[in-house]
Symmetry: C2
Subunit: 518 residues, 2 copies
């Protein structure tokens, strides 16, 4: 399989179709194919060889998609970088991957300039923004496209690397996940075979960051469905609401925190979002309350939840639209996609019985080719062909996967295991609670104590007391799971992928203590 194949198929079917819409820029299939072929030729003519890593540090744009396609076309290996990381983190990833070139846009140009100093292996900076980078040593993306001869598709594919995707920003030193063309496409095709959550020939809105493999998988599914890509530079609720209406968007992928912010936005009430047929959501669990509000916001949409991780290419399970009608199943992450075998094992890798919590392990199409330059960590993560996800969960007797926590986020209090998601679900139903995160904090009596970090809705006049919140939780969960302490904040720290950074929340509480990860 070959990531750039969609361009050939697109050209064969309708070269005049719109391929990308990015603000005022509209490109047809024919234009996109030509630009990708010239960008590929331009990058290779710099002296970059097949297999060389080329990184990109940019907000979402049509050029981001062209760049990914040009890498696949020419055999270069794409390294998308998380725009929210620090310069030190970027430098680590660039050095680790041995990247020889970096593309950066206006918003990240300053970082890129510093990275060139920090990373001697970085031979080229390419400015892919619209403003003048002000640095004469930068190459200009549009000049590279305009001045280069198109190269024919080199047809790299199969087990050739498509990209190295850095992950682990929330858990220490980043690791580069290697995904081959077959890994990445095999997973997207399997996801589509399980449920077609993209409208053929539709208009897909890219809101989630393209540096994260979740939206990249959506990009590939949309490519396979010959859909048009509509791109906003980053998540901004008002812009998303207006773009959906203006472009009559049919499908999109969002993370739960985005859905919540859209529902909370003052423009939401008057927005006509009826064109949306599919909302794929995932990357982190969603509370029932947010799911219900999201379904009201998108009246004609079918909701599909995807669970996975970069190492899985990325999708492992889907919660299908029909499953959302079941009050129990809608709390699950759904069932394995057609190419994936998903199981739960105990610490000795023995399969757990239905209903018993253990570590989720996965094998099938999409499983990474390994961590870049880290064979030992690859062997530790992928044992006997099974990716050990580090997620705790259980399967019911129909194969539905219920996530209970990251294994490291599980709270052990007085000998009882408490899964933070369950407590968060209970707490989030309180009408004053806009968002919350539950963590374990050190406790002299219980070892760890259940602690809740809470954000109230902005319009709450009289916030509930700690006692009131605890009583509210006690009505739906066991006493030992109820938070024993609270913290009220204006916002939660969120990762680029929309996950709450519990490590950050825990940091102050655990200073001076050593936390055992279970």
């Amino acid at each position: 399989m070959h990531v750039a194949q969609y361009l050939h198929i697109g050209e064969q079917r309708d070269s005049g179709r719109v391929m990308t819409v990015c603000a005022e820029r509209v490109r047809t299939v024919a234009e996109s194919v030509g630009r990708v072929a010239r960008l590929a030729g331009g990058l290779r003519s710099l002296g970059l060889d097949a297999g060389d890593r080329v990184a990109i540090l940019a907000r979402n744009s049509d050029r981001y998609l062209e760049f990914l396609s040009a890498c696949a076309w020419s055999g270069l290996v794409a390294v998308p970088l998380n725009t929210r990381w620090t310069v030190a983190e970027h430098a680590f990833a660039l050095e680790d991957a041995g990247a020889r070139a970096l593309l950066a846009d206006d918003a990240l140009a300053d970082s890129a300039t510093r990275l060139r100093e920090l990373c001697p292996g970085l031979a080229y900076l390419v400015h892919c923004g619209d403003a003048d980078p002000g640095e004469p040593t930068w190459l200009r993306y549009e000049e590279l496209v305009a001045s280069s001869a198109p190269m024919p598709d080199a047809y790299h594919g199969g087990s050739d690397l498509f990209g190295v995707f850095y992950t682990g920003g929330t858990s220490g030193r980043a690791k580069g996940v290697m995904l081959s063309h077959d890994d990445f496409m095999g997973n997207s095709i399997s996801t589509l075979a399980t449920h077609r959550a993209v409208t053929p020939g539709g208009r897909f809105l890219h809101v989630a960051p393209l540096f994260h493999v979740a939206d990249l998988a959506a990009w590939m599914m949309a490519n396979l469905c010959q859909a048009t890509h509509v791109i906003v530079p980053a998540f901004e609720p008002a812009a998303v609401l207006s773009t959906v209406q203006r472009a009559r968007i049919t499908d999109t992928m969002l993370v739960p925190s985005m859905l919540q912010l859209l529902a909370d936005h003052p423009d939401a009430a008057d927005a006509d979002l009826s064109s949306i047929r599919n909302v794929i959501y995932g990357a982190s669990p969603m509370t029932d309350a947010v799911l219900e509000r999201s379904m009201e916001l998108f009246p004609n949409a079918e909701f599909t939840q995807a669970y996975g991780m970069t190492e899985l290419g990325p999708v492992a399970t889907l919660l299908l639209p029909d499953d959302h009608r079941d009050p129990v199943r809608r709390r699950s992450a759904g069932r394995s996609i057609v190419s994936m075998d998903v199981r739960v094992v105990d610490p000795d890798d023995r399969e757990a019985q239905h209903g018993v919590v253990g570590e989720i392990v996965v094998r099938g199409a999409g499983l990474m080719s390994g961590y870049w330059g880290k064979p030992a960590q690859t062997r530790e993560a992928v044992r006997d062909g099974w990716m050990h996800t580090g997620d705790a969960g259980y399967l019911d007797d129909r194969g539905y996967l219920f996530l209970v926590d990251r294994i490291k986020d599980m709270i052990v209090t007085g000998g009882e295991n408490v899964y933070s998601v369950e407590v968060e679900n209970a707490l989030a139903r309180h009408p004053a609670v806009a968002a919350c995160a539950v963590i374990g904090v050190p406790d002299s009596t219980y070892g760890e104590r259940v602690h809740a970090v809470v954000v109230f809705h902005a319009d709450v006049q009289a916030p509930p007391s700690e006692t009131e919140l605890a009583d509210f939780c006690r009505a739906s969960i066991a006493g030992y799971k109820v938070p024993r302490s609270f913290e009220f904040v204006d916002r939660l720290p969120i990762s680029g992928a929309g996950k709450v950074l519990k490590r950050e929340l825990r940091a102050t509480h655990w200073a001076g203590h050593e936390r055992r990860v279970h």
Copy 2:
């Protein structure tokens, strides 16, 4: 990817679901998993090693499916043999593949006994029928299953061989097409991602022979959809009609000649075939007349045409249900599945313009791992990553593929190229014509002459004359395409895959002549 994965997923979701129905035998998922594990253990305990080839010569049955699964489970390579071949052809394939064991059922037991004499490498015969084979040296399938310890899934997969599929019965010496787990499953998953022509949790009727990869692909799609397999031993119209009604079949795969025989059967008029939601058809082009009658026969069915070949794993294009509503597109083979790039090239491998006939070439997920033991023929067929199909066709400006002929079946008459399918389509619309085949025969004036072999409906009282048929054709096709000679027969010679054997039809006419293949 791993062909036997569906068993694990099936067990996780509902081990009590019915997996196979074969006459009176009904097996649940749990039974099937246990039997496959024991058959796998039994075969391996004979001394067969991973990678060894094990052939099967049998009509369709639940055991056929268990055998295929047991090969995947244990790492053995399945070699399904065409039941319609001669003993000499079987012996060639067994020797060519170096098969160490052969399974055969009641209908093929005599052949198997002779094959054991002809093929010294054949160490074991396993009788997978219900009658007593009468040969004490035969192993008994059910005894092997009952007496063997289950082996754990060895998880062969990826680029490991799943099977060697012999093809080319219609064009000389057979070649063994190697399909790996990834080839075979990648193609089925891609077909499903393009269009879900199997009902999730439905009941799939296996009518077409399982030795042909077309029905095997349907088997895999049904596995991915967690469907029940209902199996009839071979195509017999009355049995198919009654099984559909009794088992409330939801989906099936048929070849055009079967559809025609079903529509012609006296039981068809009273049969309630309303449970069928999907009919996948393919393996050879279908005339408009047969398609229309088939649509009447299955009133609730969506029709999906698949075009491909064993070497493609097997599907390359699908004509989707909606496409059937378009009078022009319904004559095409549809468009490429999501993982396949399908093009038309001239004899120098340059891409042809839209509308220009050339050879169809294909690359993507499913492309064979090569011909068994034939690297030179593999290189000849797969050039630069493109499988050269030997089929002639053209693409329209929306990527629809129109098959015009096997390149070797194209008729060159008076300097004009005539594609037999077009003439057959015209002729088949005549109400008296039940089936027809058009070939080129030697002609002293024109080089080749368009010649039609015609079967009339059984109830035709006054068959039309040659002149009447020629005039009928002239109303819809150009004069040089109209048959100049006719031949009236009771039935056409048909291959195991349902294709008319034009080589046989041509044989008598070309005795003493040398035919140039264009």
